[in-house]
Symmetry: C5
Subunit: 367 residues, 5 copies
Amino acid sequence: MPSSWRLQQAAIRRMLGRPRRPRIPHLRPGTAPGTLAAPGERTPSRITVLRYGSADLAEIEAKTVEEAIAALDQPGVTWINIDGLGEPEIMARLAERLHFHPLAVEDVFNVPQRPKVEAFGDHYLIVLRMLRLVPEIDEEQVSIFFGASYVVTVQERPGGDVFEGVRNRIRGSRGRLRATGPDYLAYALIDSVVDGYFPVLESLGERLDRLEDECVSANGTLLVPHIQALRRDFLTVRRAIWPTREALVSLQRDESHLVTPETRVFLRDCYDHAVEGIDIVETDRETAASVMEIYLSSQNQRLNEVMKVLTVIATLFIPLTFIASIYGMNFEYMPELKWRWGYPAALGLMALVASGLIYSFKRRGWW
Amino acid sequence: MPSSWRLQQAAIRRMLGRPRRPRIPHLRPGTAPGTLAAPGERTPSRITVLRYGSADLAEIEAKTVEEAIAALDQPGVTWINIDGLGEPEIMARLAERLHFHPLAVEDVFNVPQRPKVEAFGDHYLIVLRMLRLVPEIDEEQVSIFFGASYVVTVQERPGGDVFEGVRNRIRGSRGRLRATGPDYLAYALIDSVVDGYFPVLESLGERLDRLEDECVSANGTLLVPHIQALRRDFLTVRRAIWPTREALVSLQRDESHLVTPETRVFLRDCYDHAVEGIDIVETDRETAASVMEIYLSSQNQRLNEVMKVLTVIATLFIPLTFIASIYGMNFEYMPELKWRWGYPAALGLMALVASGLIYSFKRRGWW
Amino acid sequence: MPSSWRLQQAAIRRMLGRPRRPRIPHLRPGTAPGTLAAPGERTPSRITVLRYGSADLAEIEAKTVEEAIAALDQPGVTWINIDGLGEPEIMARLAERLHFHPLAVEDVFNVPQRPKVEAFGDHYLIVLRMLRLVPEIDEEQVSIFFGASYVVTVQERPGGDVFEGVRNRIRGSRGRLRATGPDYLAYALIDSVVDGYFPVLESLGERLDRLEDECVSANGTLLVPHIQALRRDFLTVRRAIWPTREALVSLQRDESHLVTPETRVFLRDCYDHAVEGIDIVETDRETAASVMEIYLSSQNQRLNEVMKVLTVIATLFIPLTFIASIYGMNFEYMPELKWRWGYPAALGLMALVASGLIYSFKRRGWW
Amino acid sequence: MPSSWRLQQAAIRRMLGRPRRPRIPHLRPGTAPGTLAAPGERTPSRITVLRYGSADLAEIEAKTVEEAIAALDQPGVTWINIDGLGEPEIMARLAERLHFHPLAVEDVFNVPQRPKVEAFGDHYLIVLRMLRLVPEIDEEQVSIFFGASYVVTVQERPGGDVFEGVRNRIRGSRGRLRATGPDYLAYALIDSVVDGYFPVLESLGERLDRLEDECVSANGTLLVPHIQALRRDFLTVRRAIWPTREALVSLQRDESHLVTPETRVFLRDCYDHAVEGIDIVETDRETAASVMEIYLSSQNQRLNEVMKVLTVIATLFIPLTFIASIYGMNFEYMPELKWRWGYPAALGLMALVASGLIYSFKRRGWW
Amino acid sequence: MPSSWRLQQAAIRRMLGRPRRPRIPHLRPGTAPGTLAAPGERTPSRITVLRYGSADLAEIEAKTVEEAIAALDQPGVTWINIDGLGEPEIMARLAERLHFHPLAVEDVFNVPQRPKVEAFGDHYLIVLRMLRLVPEIDEEQVSIFFGASYVVTVQERPGGDVFEGVRNRIRGSRGRLRATGPDYLAYALIDSVVDGYFPVLESLGERLDRLEDECVSANGTLLVPHIQALRRDFLTVRRAIWPTREALVSLQRDESHLVTPETRVFLRDCYDHAVEGIDIVETDRETAASVMEIYLSSQNQRLNEVMKVLTVIATLFIPLTFIASIYGMNFEYMPELKWRWGYPAALGLMALVASGLIYSFKRRGWW
């Protein structure tokens, strides 16, 4: 019997019906701009502080926001990282101390925001979308504030991030990081986020290759939902990476003293990575569309095949059965029935008709 | 029997045939520009006036337009709201008092207009499209005039609006509203309209998710009209939000003294919201198109399935019936008919043929 | 029997085969630019002259071109309208008197031209496409020359136009028309042409709504040619309105003394109307494409339905007939045939098989 | 029997398999730029010289290139036309005399080049694609050099061109040609090439109209290859006309003393013609795509029709045959067989079933 | 029997499953920019040095990088070519000597990079993608550094390149190469890469032509994967050529003293070649899409044909068999069975029905 339709449907419904991320920021019409509220339930946030100069390094896990603020008064670059949006008052206190613009702070909590860069005189806000494989694609908003001597990063949810490499480079005193200002740290963080898109793209590319291989051998399995799910994932990456590219352009062009010319060169390199990523996304999206086409045409081919078999069998036996049914009639005066060679003659007639039909099928290339 | 085609058609016709909004502004070729006429029947308009400074607040429901005009002479910001286009003479009187440009006033009555911003020296006209869920999408034109000390809003139809939050913020003396000029009030109104798109988008997104779930389990129900109706609703939002974005760009760039630099920052934030909305609309439109594809391909799959069953059954029994009909012929000299084991042999032959066919189907993966 | 294919085809051929307008301007490779020739047969043209100032008004129907030229020497604004391109020498004489550029005059006769604005120092040429419902869409080229004291309009064919409203406003001394110069008259004429697109769009929109309603109830009628014909009409409007918008942009931007700043404001309004029209055309074109999709998918659905019925009937009866034909065989030794309950047993077997099949169809949702 | 598939295929293969023009210029990686070589076999080129001033005119057919070069030293405008690329040394000699840039000369021989304009200080190179109907579309590269006192045109192949009108205007001393410089002659030649696209477009448009008429009446003929061949021809025109438009823009904008302001006005007119042509190509391409859609949907409709007939016939007779085969069984105890009215009753039962089925088909609109 | 589905699938899987090139550069999130590592296993690189002035020429195969560096101190232009990325320390040493920017060096090793030009004060980095037919398309990254007196090229893999023509021109002292600086050499190398795209395009074009011919005669072979594989190859060329065009634009526009005005003219020519290539790629991609359409529609046509045959045969014989089965019933009282002419009458009735059906098929054009 044909493949179990019902079971497939259940599987597809499960696959498509997986809980979807909220796509719409929590803006309530009519509230004053700058109002802060945690997007989900209140959960405690984790605050980590990393303060460094070319010579010294201090790493603390702050219990209260005041501990973190104390670090800001000391020399060197201070990087405060807040994990989770559960405690808006932490951000409110930091914003007060560092004079963040109310709209900038609002953007941190109105997840998901479109990636962007906003300049506010003495500080910048960079909103990015961090993608990780855990092992599904995990999407998280990262907001990066940086000013003359500090970097503040806010992550949407507690849990891992893509900044471990940067932390290690600071700790290990490797590369330029320890000797440069907060603009370079901000660059390093942005670069980590952008570079983090590539493993995701690699995994999507592998899924694409696998689907491409399966789409011709697929035997009644519904590949379309898989292809569509893949396309949706490409769309997720696309929505993260395109505005990031725009943000990098505007950050490079902005003539602020907060970004040194040396860092601008590195930002250009980061921009190149983003363009590279866009290139891969767009090519893969096109390939995904063509995999769809191969699949649908192979399904069509299969229907053709099925119809041809039906036609050949039916067309062959319908006339033969007709002949047999003629001699199955019960008329009293049917001379053929009494002939000695009637039966062999009838069989011969059938063989003749069958041969003729088979010949004509062969000529048409249907056999 | 197959699903009731007729009943479905009736339902679809009802769904698609719901009275459509006029899409074409009531421009009569050859009339002089600036001619005013109510777009529908004459219905009384409602005039409400809200006058406030940082210290005081007055809220009156004006019986006549003169009452409203009287408020304009007092200090502070005066917000006159007109609900419904049924009495053009109210607007004509206001336009006379506040020197509105005839073309600007014409735009208020020629609904629907494309959202836009127009600068006329000492006043601005902002035309927006307000969307609300009541519970279907309700579309209404809002025209916002603002000058040095006043804001005049004109709504296409009486009934609710999305400005209640702004009114409450004025009444409650919350936020910056009471301390700032009419430009900030205008911003707050625009922001309310833009933020009002998000609940609509959320509801459309939910419909989309539901359709996506249904499209693989759909059992003969016609999903296409539902998908198309959803697409049309997305188109409605799109037509509201794209030109709003353009209008916000031109309002921000315009170097008029009527808009303070502080308000410009807020307009940029509002612009970001509009871009966010566009992003969601476009992604959802793409998803809607791919839901269509999944649905059509699942329909195709179903046809394939049906054809396969038909082929298997017909191909199996047609040759067997042929064999039976041979031995149903009435020839006198058919030696097999007299054999002792003729009948079992015929049945065996049939079983053999059937097994061969089933084996060949299995090899093709049709069984 | 199925719907009468032949009759339908005849109807479609008639519909599609209606005489098409020439789409290609009559340019002969190698002729010198500026050569004038009537595009069709020579037919007499009609010349009407309307001369007005803020106080006086003269309206004459000129017998010869010299009569019209005489009016040019008098004070006030002179509007010469030429109906039909049958007498090129009229235009040649006017061009000589008013120093029109030879290429400008050539454009008048090389119909159809793309709508455009061309500035020639002391005069402008505006080429537009006038659309009217009579009751099919009628397309006609209108060329508008205007200089310091005159407007010359040339219409491709005699017969009605969309300028009657403007004439009445001049005659009735209503609006600004009588008090302003030829630039404002030119604006009023352009505005009439642009506003004339909206009734056409309204009628196309109604056809679209009707097709949308029919496309699900269509019972074997071929809707595709109707949808395509509608699309072609949208294309006609589109080809008229897009370049008109561009022309209005370039007319507004051109820094000529021939266009006063007051008129520029009105031109901006006219530009807004054109954009509005483009918006409607594009949305409707998108809807037309989706109506096509609904129609095709509903046709597909119908085929599905048909195939399902065929499968159900054939699959049900083919095995039953096979059983019957077994017991129709004429073997001498078929014990069942002699059994007392053989016949009811055979019928019972058939009923059993039928029930099994029906149950399996029900489970698949085909019944 | 169905239409002769095999014959059609042969015809299509012939149609599609017609020898294709080389599409790729003959660039050999690594050769020094400026190397000249005939693109095909060496065939003698024909050199014609036309020298004229406002008063005099000389027309000679030069045997050697030196004869042509001699003409360059005389006053007036000299137009040297070379027919065929078979003798590269002619061009080399001319290039030496007139100081053509090596890359410019290379472009002449590397056919096909993309239409373009290149300025080289004291001379221009204009590369165009000349299209003619002979009676298929014939595509040929024309390279036009012009300097202060000369025009040199090089045609890819001997045989006709579209310049005969220009030659006649020079000979007949008609129009502005004799009184103006080489820039106007160059314009006249470009204009001839652009105007030459319109007869080609007209012929393609007629083929399109014919295909549109045929696509609904097509009875098993494969229209798709015809439509695709037409689309390919539109593509050919498109590839010629789009870059020509760009070239005209850059020629107009270039601030060289070689092009007088008067000629620029004519170039703008020529540009308008090119845009007109683009407009026609794009609209026709869109129509061609929609003709395809009509055709495919009419094919689909036909399949629907066929399936409906099959279903109606099969569904009607399969149950009837089943009834007949029941009473064809040979059971000994079948009481109905002995009834007096058994036979009429069986026929009646069949009639009843048939009526029921026909009624149900009618209700579904299949009959 | 229908074509061997299983064998085809195997072939397709092989074709599509060929090992794919890594598409994603080896960026590890969090590593410091400028870190070098061989992208694959460590394999020895080959270093060749070509030093030349207008008079002298030296060509050595350097054993160590120091040998190559020694050449840099001598007068004239030094071209160092490194084949293979297996020894990153060679590049590191060269970068140290020539002060390459760390990010530039990183780009060399992070293959595949998007083609681009980057200016770093005293040197340029040009990244290109070299395509060759060997005989499949072989893709390799080439990085070209050039400064005031040197050119350094780094190829991704050992093995052939497209620079042999340039080497021969240097050796043979032909053309401008020996007399000009490193900028002209860089141009010559870029030009070789760009010109190398054309043989690849020619071979793809031939495959396209072949597929076009086959797509109507294809008898059950699956052309879709072949078309898709071709499309993927076009995509490969497209991804190489589009950014190369952009890179050439930016190289031409850059106002660096490293590129002389003479070389800029040649770069413009090279740019023209790239545009030419893009033109061919885009046209061929469009043709490939339309070949797909022809193929799918011809498959559809074939299904139509098959269905028509089935319908004709089944519709013809089903009623005839029904008549025969009526007279095969065993009722005792069937008067027709006893008639003298019953049998011929039955046959006559069948002939009549058959004629009627055949006539009706003919009228529908199905026979």
